[in-house]
Amino acid sequence: MVHISDGILAPWLWGSGWVITAAILAYTLKKMKIDDVPKLSVITAAIFVASLIRIPAGLTSVHLVLSGFAGVTLGILAYPCIFIALVMQAFLFQHGGITTIGINTVNMGVPALISFFIFKAGMKLKLNIGIRKNEILFGAIAGGIAVALAVLLLAVELLVTGEQFTEIATTVVLAHIPVILVEAIFTGVIAGFLATVKPEMLSIGR
């Protein structure tokens, strides 16, 4: 639900979305080694598949957004991965829009980058709260913030598009509160899990 369909946002907004995405893509693709391509693709596929899984939350169920997870594991390369995942969602599942791929990538990708920096900073803090707890704590913060920021960005974009979207924007924000919680728990648990099972999957080393 964080990704918006075609025809809603003002054209200058989704237009700038493409410009920003093109710029960040150009930079991150340059940083990406060609040898990383197969690895990143399989992880992108995993993120894609995981985002299709329904997680019960209260009376409804939510889909994971996983942008925070992408940031925590892939670092700045989360951006091209989120782009590819959104292209796949738009074309294969008709979730989200075509003209909005740019802005949707900004909405999910920029928070993913921020959550990466938060996680990285958190790992440097060396809080003495016991083994793995550091990863769980900052994973949860990163995961929650990534979705919260994405939702806020979307709400602001809706408001900027027109005053008549105020109620919609409010609904979007309220509807995502359970998602933010689930996503925070998810990213925290998974960061702790990876710290013990597969530490090389966490982006700290990158």
Binding site: M1, S5, D6, G7, I8, P11, W14, L25, L29, M32, I34, D35, V37, P38, K39, L40, S41, V42, I43, T44, A45, A46, F48, V49, A50, L52, I53, R54, I55, P56, G58, L59, L64, P80, F83, I84, A85, V87, M88, F91, L92, Q94, G97, I98, T99, E163, Q164, F165, T166, E167, I168, T171, I185, F186, V189, I190, F193, L194, V197, K198
Partner: protein
């Protein structure tokens, strides 16, 4: 769990015979052009044009409708919420406690309808665009259009592994269910599913490593070339002119309309 969009790629229609490179570019341009429209009449005409394209492509409408359903569910709130307001101006229709529900007027209904039609039209056009060629041909077309090599490679690999991993997750879910796991709204469900997904990620990471080894073993040095070659024939250009022509036509109509209005 995942169905393919290109299952009707084997049909035969003018759209199927259209060069995939020109097809992707033209319809992409058409979608952008329609999304720039803010005139209900032109939007409706565009939707009719999209329906005609789908009709020519011979992709069954039932297939498309099944997928339009989800987009419709997404935009439905806009249709319901947009015409009403609790903070903006309008004619009062209800008052619940301190909240006043106002109706914004018929223009906002039109606006909401336009949003819905635009969203549906864009999705509808995906089907003639990429549902009429096999996915691998579309990837080759993108490569031929000089999209960044890394992006096209990522698209192709991701596409391939979506099917492998979704199958693996399905197996994992079955093994959870067969051992008595039931989804519920509780922390236990969330953490269990999280662990299942975490395992999926670790598995995928390890598989990614093996795939990379396999590619290296087959002489991969960073470049993927395939053997498909595209040829352009006159009808390819004809279709391009028709579709791009329409995309330009609606923009000219808007521009002409603004001229008239002033």
């Amino acid at each position: 769990m995942i169905s393919e969009i290109d299952i009707y790629a084997g049909l035969s229609s003018p759209i199927h015979r259209w060069d995939p490179r020109l097809k992707v570019i033209s319809i992409f341009m058409l979608i952008f052009s329609i999304m720039l429209l803010y005139d209900l009449k032109l939007v409706i005409i565009s939707m009719l044009f999209a329906i005609i394209l789908v009709y020519i492509s011979r992709i069954p409408f039932s297939f498309i409708l099944g997928r339009l359903k989800w987009v419709f569910l997404f935009v439905l709130p806009f249709l319901i919420i947009l015409p009403f307001t609790v903070i903006g101006e309008g004619s009062e229709i209800a008052k619940i406690g301190s909240i006043t529900l106002n109706f914004r007027g018929i223009e906002s209904v039109e606006f909401a309808v336009m949003i819905v039609i635009k969203a549906l039209t864009s999705v509808m056009l995906i089907f003639p665009m990429i549902g009429t060629s096999r996915m691998d041909i579309t990837f080759k077309a993108l490569e031929d259009l000089h999209l960044p090599n890394k992006l096209v490679q990522m698209l192709a690999f991701t596409y391939r592994y979506i099917f492998v991993l979704s199958n693996e997750f399905m197996l994992m879910e079955r093994s959870l269910t067969s051992r008595g796991f039931k989804r519920g709204s509780n922390l236990y469900t969330i953490t269990t599913l999280t662990k299942a997904i975490a395992t999926l990620f670790v598995m995928s990471f390890e598989q990614a490593e093996r795939v990379f080894y396999a590619m290296r073993s087959k002489g991969y040095a960073g470049k993927i070339t395939t053997m498909h070659e595209f040829t352009l024939r006159p009808h390819d250009w004809l279709y391009t002119v028709v579709v791009c022509g329409f995309a330009i036509f609606v923009q000219v109509a808007v521009w002409y309309g603004t001229l008239e209005g002033t």
